[in-house]
């Protein structure tokens, strides 16, 4: 187990280095580089810009700048926001909870619905339900998340008036129930794509398990079908799903960005767009790196969990 852990950790560190190089290049290879915003300012002369780049160390060779930048990132110094002067990590932390809440609730919906649809599709293979689920998943994967959100707002907020059209809570009436009321529609919207992917994978994972010998054995010795499903099939089929959940973190984060925009949800996605609008590049870069690190961490945790549950991986 220790060898596996160290090996996996080492891979993540290498990936983190490559990810950080990509992030650094995105920032630096832009026309104008990190000072692009100042060149637009008529009050800045060429000499001012040169002095500024001298001060910020921007005239040193790129590898030196990268090493410096990476070292400061490691120490938790991610720069300061142009917009409000706060440290980037602090700005991100302020928006983290809202995004995690949204992602968490939509993941719960996606796992519950997707698992059910997937297992039912597999046990009733080629039935009307299975066919509808297959076609439905392909269509669901084709719907732009933001459009699904707009239609949801139109139908359930504007026409029916069941749920609020945006924001995370009503000012002056913050309560758990109020949060929940605001959470329902955006988390359903965000879960659509994941329900589709999850149910497809769950279906094929279940089919894989069902065709194995130990299931035949269980059936042959007279275990009731419901019990076979509950005790033997579901657990084994869910195992590869843990890895899948880790792998799909970036797409959920991307979906959260769009969903937050449509629902004026005060999370990291909203922050990312606002920062883009204000050319607040330290925060943009910070969020880019933060989301990639979150993904690497998610994959690492998923792999460790799978290895803990499944001795075949840990020992093989």
């Amino acid at each position: 187990m220790l060898v596996f852990l160290l090996n996996r950790l080492w891979q993540s560190i290498i990936l983190l280095v490559i990810v950080s190089i990509i992030g650094f290049l995105v920032l630096n290879l832009m026309p104008g580089g990190p000072l692009a915003q100042f060149t637009l300012d008529p009050g800045m002369t060429q000499a001012d810009i040169e002095r500024l780049s001298e001060q910020m160390g921007l005239n040193r060779p790129l590898p030196v700048q990268y090493a410096d930048w990476a070292w400061r990132m490691l120490q938790g110094d991610w720069g300061t926001s142009y917009r409000d002067g706060a440290p980037v990590l602090e700005v991100i932390r302020r928006h983290l909870f809202a995004t995690l809440l949204l992602m968490g609730s939509s993941t719960v919906i996606a796992i519950a619905l997707g698992t059910w649809i997937g297992i039912r599709g597999a046990t009733h293979q080629y039935s009307g339900f299975d066919y509808a689920a297959t076609v439905g998943a392909m269509i669901a994967l084709s719907i732009p998340t933001f459009w699904f959100g707009l239609i949801g707002i139109y139908v359930f907020s504007l026409e029916l008036g069941w749920v609020p059209a945006g924001n995370m809570y009503t000012i002056g009436k913050e309560s758990a129930l109020n949060y929940l009321h605001h959470l329902i529609l955006p988390s359903i919207v965000l879960s659509l794509v994941n329900v589709a992917t999850w149910s497809r994978y769950m279906r094929s994972a279940t089919l894989d398990v069902i065709s194995q010998d130990f299931i035949k054995t269980a059936r042959a010795k007279g275990v009731p079908e419901r019990r076979v499903l509950r005790k033997h099939v579901v657990g084994n089929a869910l195992l590869p799903m843990i890895t899948l959940a880790g792998m799909h973190l970036p797409s959920i984060l991307g979906g959260a960005l769009v969903t937050e925009t449509v629902f004026t949800w005060p999370g990291m996605g909203r922050l990312f767009l606002d920062s883009l609008g204000y050319s607040d590049y330290p925060v943009v870069m910070g969020l880019l790196m933060f989301s990639a690190i979150l993904t690497l961490l998610g994959n690492l945790i998923a792999d460790i969990v799978v290895a803990m549950v499944d001795p075949r991986i840990r020992l093989g």
């Binding site: 490559i18 990509i22 832009m30 084709s142 732009p144 139109y154 449509v262 883009l276 989301s291």
Partner: protein
């Protein structure tokens, strides 16, 4: 591995090919094929047949609901004809989708073939690069690049391509790795063929099936990505219409003019669904391993 061309027996026609016949029996793929052909034709020919130009502003006819007079799909907040804009936008959105697919498939195929054939530290490094790109949420990366660079249609295409080649690279790498030690590759080496010749002339043609399937799904993805960035205001810039930027601003009129949001979104969904259906049919027809869905 099945190839598209019916080259084995010289006289058989392309429509007698097993893969083609299998594709034609796939109902969803046919539905997708019909839908996307109709949509593409409408986008190419349509703008000439409609009574209004996509840029014609008529302030007296603002917010006309669908089916008022000659405005078959209504008008937008400036009184421009939505049908004309939708078809004009389709030209751009579909073109961006296709071009991004071509470019990203090219990048992915080259990286995948080199990584799979060379192996060793070159292969490992390239595949780590794939993993690193996959760690970024693609919308974040596309938005950041689009905001920093000039958002012309060409630039948007390049940005989308640069952030969506990883799937193809992964598939190609796995296939090439399994072909690397086969006899025809050894024979090529014995003949003294160059590495590039073996990689791109001998091995690559055997991987064309999975590449075609992945490319079809990449078109769907690229159209969606373009819609996302343009909706958020960083993609195709007005007055040039695209399906995504027609939805930009639709939210504020959702109450008053819901068709502003419904029509372009439905069109995107239809286009993307078509490519996903076709991809599904191609996967069956070309016997590509079923490990994605």
């Amino acid at each position: 591995m099945t190839t598209l061309a019916a080259s084995s027996s010289g006289r058989s026609r392309w429509w007698q090919n097993r893969a083609v016949r299998k594709f034609m029996r796939h109902r969803l793929a046919l539905v997708g094929m019909v839908m996307i052909t109709a949509l593409t034709l409408a986008c190419i020919v349509g703008p000439w047949l409609l009574p209004y130009d996509s840029l014609h502003i008529d302030l007296r006819a603002r917010f006309a609901p669908p089916l008022t007079g000659q405005h078959y799909l209504g008008t937008d907040p400036l009184g421009r004809d939505i049908a004309a804009r939708l078809l004009e936008a389709g030209r751009i959105s579909l073109l961006v989708g296709f071009a991004a697919m071509l470019l990203s498939t090219l990048i992915g195929a080259v990286i995948g073939v080199v990584a799979g054939y060379r192996g060793g530290w070159i292969g490992a490094t390239l595949m780590r690069l794939v993993d690193a790109f996959l760690a970024f949420p693609s919308i974040f990366l596309v938005l950041a690049l689009a905001a920093l660079l000039k958002p012309s249609p060409t630039m948007i295409t390049v940005i989308i391509a640069v952030t969506s080649w990883m799937e193809v690279a992964r598939i190609v790498e796995a296939e090439v790795r399994s072909l690397r030690e086969r006899e025809f590759v050894l024979a090529g080496r014995m003949l003294g063929l160059s590495g590039a010749h073996i990689m791109f002339r001998e091995i690559l043609p055997n991987v064309i099936g999975p590449i075609i399937v992945a490319a079809t799904l990449t078109v769907a993805r690229a159209i969606l990505l373009e819609a996302y960035v343009s909706f958020l205001g960083y993609g195709i810039q007005p007055p040039l219409p695209s399906w995504g930027n027609m939805l930009n601003g639709a939210q504020q009129y959702l109450d008053k003019a819901p068709w502003l949001a419904i029509i372009p979104g439905l069109t995107i969904t239809i286009a993307v669904t078509s490519f996903n259906f076709i991809g599904d049919g191609l996967r069956d027809a070309l016997d590509v391993r079923n490990d994605r869905m």
